[in-house]
């Protein structure tokens, strides 16, 4: 039971410096992070849920885009491991005064930072940062590109229900076009051998998405009948309020794509996930959110453990 990790680590060696996206990570890398995260999960249940592993590290959280959950989760993960944390968000910083991203990161890095967690509305920003500073860069969401730690925590949560994800059927429902969560999950899940189905209104489905080797459906009933796990995505109300006309109304969206109690009764096997924050009565019926079939709060707890594992693995050792 204990020894599988030991024999496994003899040939395998985690050699990544950054986490920009799951595309650059192998199946082994992903499985290794998920396996290590199991042991970090246990720390959260200790009487003193804090270890000194990163006490000599300084980490900056660079959030150019609003985020509550991801930033809190990263910050908690960092503090649980004893790191020094500085937060930078655009609301109260020099970015407002017109400083460029390049200058900001150079200034911050002159203060001897070991790791940077970055969220930005433009895809590719984390990759850009790797060329400017020595620190390890962790992508906490760049535009509609990737959000790797979210995908890792989703896969971790799925593994708690289905230890082997190979051949499992995962449906992702909602605004596929504007979601970075989808992209990272898609890449990760395919590497682990799961089958993925995307479901949503045609207007929120990117063109040629089927080329990625996924199933497509525009019918919620068919989707829920098929899947082991149904992951609903948040409909960005801000986007809808700007009346871009991608779907007629929230009410109609709920009627066609919202998961309701009747679905849980009709299809008793699937589990409900959601990356949060949930719009009750849009993606999910309020009772569904609170039902035993939803693991949304587990996702949040697991997020801290997975992020601890990522920080740990990227911070340590001399790289060869």
């Amino acid at each position: 039971m204990v020894d599988s990790t030991e024999t496994g680590s003899v040939e395998y060696h985690f050699g990544q410096k950054h986490l920009l996206g799951l595309r650059a990570y192998s199946r082994e890398d992903i499985l290794y992070i998920l396996e290590q995260a199991r042991y970090f999960r246990e720390i959260l249940d200790r009487p003193v849920p804090k270890v000194p592993t990163l006490r000599d590290k300084t980490i900056v959280n660079l959030f150019y885009e609003n985020s509550t959950r991801t930033r809190l989760s990263f910050e908690l993960a960092q503090k649980r491991m004893g790191a020094d944390v500085v937060n930078f968000s655009t609301g109260n910083s020099s970015a407002k005064k017109g400083e460029s991203l390049k200058d900001t990161i150079r200034n911050i890095s002159s203060m001897k930072i070991n790791m940077v967690v970055v969220r930005h509305e433009s895809p590719g920003v984390p990759d850009f940062l790797t060329r400017l500073v020595d620190a390890s860069i962790i992508n906490a969401g760049d535009g509609a590109h990737e959000h790797p730690t979210q995908a890792l925590l989703d896969m971790f949560t799925m593994q708690q229900i289905h230890p082997e994800l190979k051949g499992r059927k995962v449906a992702i429902i909602g605004d596929i076009s504007h979601s970075r969560v989808v992209r990272s999950n898609l890449i990760g899940l395919k590497k682990l051998g799961a089958e993925v189905l995307l479901c949503g209104p045609k207007t929120l489905m990117p063109l040629y998405v089927e080329k990625l080797g996924v199933h497509i459906s525009y019918d919620l009933e068919e989707t829920l009948k098929w899947c082991d796990i149904a992951m609903a995505l948040r409909i960005q109300l801000e986007r809808q309020e700007r009346s871009t006309g991608l779907f007629p109304s929230l009410r109609e969206y709920y009627q066609k794509f919202g998961i309701r109690m009747e679905h849980l009764e009709r299809y008793p096997d699937f589990t409900v996930m959601h990356p949060g924050p949930v719009n009750r009565g849009v993606e999910l019926e309020s009772d569904v959110v609170d039902s035993e079939r939803a693991v949304i709060l587990n996702q949040v707890t697991n997020g801290v453990a997975v992020r601890m594992a990522v920080l740990y693995l990227l911070s340590g050792g001399k790289r060869v």
Binding site: D3, R46, P52, G316, G317, V320
Partner: protein, 178 residues
């Protein structure tokens, strides 16, 4: 050191550990990953067969508390820690295979303190090979072996290595002395 000696040492440990206590279930035994866990289990088996009582048992991984984490070539894999009882006011016996610099034991004590406030911690190891870098000593020792820095002490347990034995290996020449 052959298997029968190793097994005799397990028996001796069982009695030494229990000697200060009236009740065989009184101490809590905690094995350190990886081989300390198996050694601790074997000691518990002896206690159970002779006193038909089994003390509380826990598993400790000290990776998070190591001070050489940064200087190692690769990131050490984290293993499971499982202490399913309250450490408060307990007499804890910490078990590991080899005592060398003392740094692992220091990490282990830090880790235990984060779990609670034990009444006492005793340390039990199969081999004490010297070369301490910290003021730490073992309470119960299987065998004391004066070694050179370029030698390696290998403790083998049946569960992992298919045999119970202790080897002194010269790393330069890869020669076994039994």
């Amino acid at each position: 050191m052959p298997a029968e000696d190793v097994n005799r040492t397990f028996k001796r440990f069982a009695h030494q550990i229990l000697e200060p206590f009236d009740d065989a279930a009184h101490p809590a035994v905690i094995g350190m990953q990886t081989r300390g866990v198996h050694i601790a289990r074997r000691i518990l088996n002896v206690i159970e067969s002779e006193y038909s009582q089994r003390p509380d048992f826990g598993i400790l991984d000290v990776t998070f508390y190591r001070d050489d984490f940064r200087t190692r070539l690769k990131v050490p894999a984290v293993q499971i820690t499982e202490i399913p009882f309250d450490l408060y006011d307990r007499d804890v016996i910490l078990v590991d295979d080899v005592l060398y610099t003392g740094r692992t034991v220091r990490s282990a004590m830090d880790a235990l303190m984060d779990y609670g406030r034990p009444r006492s911690i005793h340390f039990c190891c199969m081999v004490d090979r010297g070369h301490r870098e910290l003021p730490i000593t073992a309470d119960y020792v299987g065998i004391r072996v004066p070694t050179h820095q370029n030698e390696e002490v290998q403790v083998k347990v049946k569960e992992l290595d298919g045999e119970d034995a202790v080897y002194l290996v010269n790393v330069d020449m890869e020669q076994d002395h039994g």
